[in-house]
Symmetry: C3
Subunit: 266 residues, 3 copies
């Protein structure tokens, strides 16, 4: 099984699929091809949250603002999974989540890849998804994660671009974090662990009082709430509405959550 | 084969696919993940029109404005098909269409489902698609529709939320119905059976004269027409244009179709 | 393997998939379903660029502004590939690219197709993708390209609507062409062969000076450049931005590329 994720929109992912299926029989599963353009951090977040639900697979990821620079192309082994993509950090949070026992990284030697040669093909400096990452992912899938060392185009390395999503600072009455991502529904996903909401029925979010609910339906349609989202983090949401609009929050904005009593003296 | 339909956008459907593929080998086919948000009736319409074209399959449907409330999760057996989703009526019109001989319904006991346990997973009150419906659909697919009773998490029931799409009132010269849905092309799909257009070359739609055509191409580009759409209903369309704009109609609006002569005396 | 391409949006492609899977077991791969509506030329371009990356397959294509007219439905054999769609030229540029040794064309006799008959199905004058092209593609896949003559609904023909994408006029210092397509990233893809950029570091594009770069990253973020795109043509792009906006160019617009010195006397 090979999953595909990119910021390519359409129809570029189809060219990657053709390249893969020319080389190997595999079930292909799209994770998303509408990640925000060239937004490595947002893609890294979603991959970390989604890929652990898959059985062992090869994951092809192309969110690559540095295409054409000297950034490396890499393969990461994470447990029974392999991730293939640019060395810009986008693979790292998912890899750490997948691999309890650490990860192995390899640099792709593009010149050692068996080239992609369709009728009248043009090699490309701008579409490494099709010309580098897709063939590498197909070949990784074909040999399996236990035989990565047998691939002549891979060289083990300890150097890669690390990327860790920011952690919140949490104490008993106050959590200080930020917005990791806003999903398609407008739900504001913070990096504050959901445990902060335990035994609370309300809190202050950036100074404004908000009820805490176990589900969206804990408040009337159109009302705001704080809840533990499906990723285990505190989300600032609106039941049947958009939390980002209601709270005026976007990716990267700071979020301070406090017990109402803790700030009552202000 | 498992089909998937939701209003999730992206990348949430990928998490459902991972959960399914962790449990069972199945070909996965997307029906749509951009159904209008939390619009049970529109999703029910499309599923009724599309699912009968599939061979026997398990159909996972998540359009679920009541997630987190006490609404049930259900499985419907309809002929050789199984439908899995929330008990809000979204599965019902498709189920009746699929099953000439009636349907069987089961409530899902979530606590009896083998839990979804990826690395570092968080159980969720807000993403039942991933945590309840996807694993249930995988297990239904694995045992097959003839063995639903063998699944310990299913209990037969006769109670479910019924949903019937509204029917039009039709006599010889007049049909009174409503707009069921507007498709991506802007075609206005009514609930008036296509037979009403037989032997007519023109009619009044909400009082305005419109030619009747067998195909879009029966009128010049940009012109309005009434035709029998691919679902068998009267559609109010524009050749190479948008019918919803031209007719000023939206979902739920009333539509009265009359023979020109029948209203000539008014 | 059957690929699917259309301008249908959603959920109509799912009905085509159901029809196919009712008739044959095949891996289904989406090329795109968001081609610009009824834009035969743009679809023809993308198919020509993407399909050659696939292994031998049946390609179902429905961009069909003439649905319901007397335009034919055709099957094209191109090498080991088969293409199925309307006879409006959309299949032609891809077919020629796929087949070094020429193509074979067949007209579909719709009345000889085994009909699509789901529960309560309605035949349709407006959805030939579901009712004609999908069943034909399934049957073509089932017999294979070497046995097309065995299909009773196919009749060989030499007449089909030809479509050739326009070629640029190129000499040593000047290339005169046009915009073939603008991709999702806003990259302006011209029909000027990439070889025109060899040994050039800058040029005039419609009179305005532009640097030539091997990759987007050759210029600072936000700057314009001319580069050889992934299709082998000159593209007018912006690093991490939209070329169409920066150059004020749209599909079909003329593009004149000149050496700076060649026009220095103006």
């Amino acid at each position: 099984m090979i999953t595909l994720a990119s910021d390519f929109g359409t129809p570029y992912p189809a060219a990657m699929k053709g390249v893969i299926l020319e080389r190997t029989e595999a079930q292909l599963i799209d994770v998303a091809h509408d990640f925000p353009r060239q937004d490595v951090r947002t893609a890294a977040f979603w991959l970390r949250e989604v890929l652990p639900y898959f059985p062992p697979a090869t994951h092809l990821v192309v969110v690559d603002p540095g295409v054409g620079t000297d950034r490396d192309a890499i393969v990461v082994r994470a447990g029974d999974h392999a991730l293939v993509g640019p060395d810009n950090g986008v693979l790292v949070p998912a890899s750490w989540r997948l691999a309890d026992g650490g990860i192995e990284t390899y640099v792709i030697d593009e010149s050692a890849l068996e080239p992609v040669v369709p009728a009248h093909a043009h090699s490309s400096n701008t579409f490494h998804g099709r010309d580098v990452f897709a063939p590498a992912a197909a070949d990784v899938h074909e040999v399996g994660v236990d035989s990565l060392a047998s691939l002549s185009f891979l060289e083990a390395t300890d150097e890669y671009v690390d990327l860790r999503l920011p952690a919140a600072t949490v104490d008993a009455d106050r959590a200080s974090g930020e917005v990791l991502v806003v999903d398609d529904f407008g739900n504001v996903i913070t990096n504050v662990p959901g445990e902060f909401l335990e035994n609370r029925s309300r809190l202050l979010a950036n100074g404004e009082p908000v009820p805490v609910g176990e589900t969206f339906a804990a408040v009337p349609a159109g009302d705001r709430l704080a809840t533990v989202g499906s990723h285990g983090y505190v989300e600032l949401d609106v039941n049947r509405g958009r939390g980002d609009d209601a709270f005026g929050l976007a990716v990267g904005d700071g979020v301070v959550l406090e017990s109402p009593e803790s700030s009552s003296g202000r």
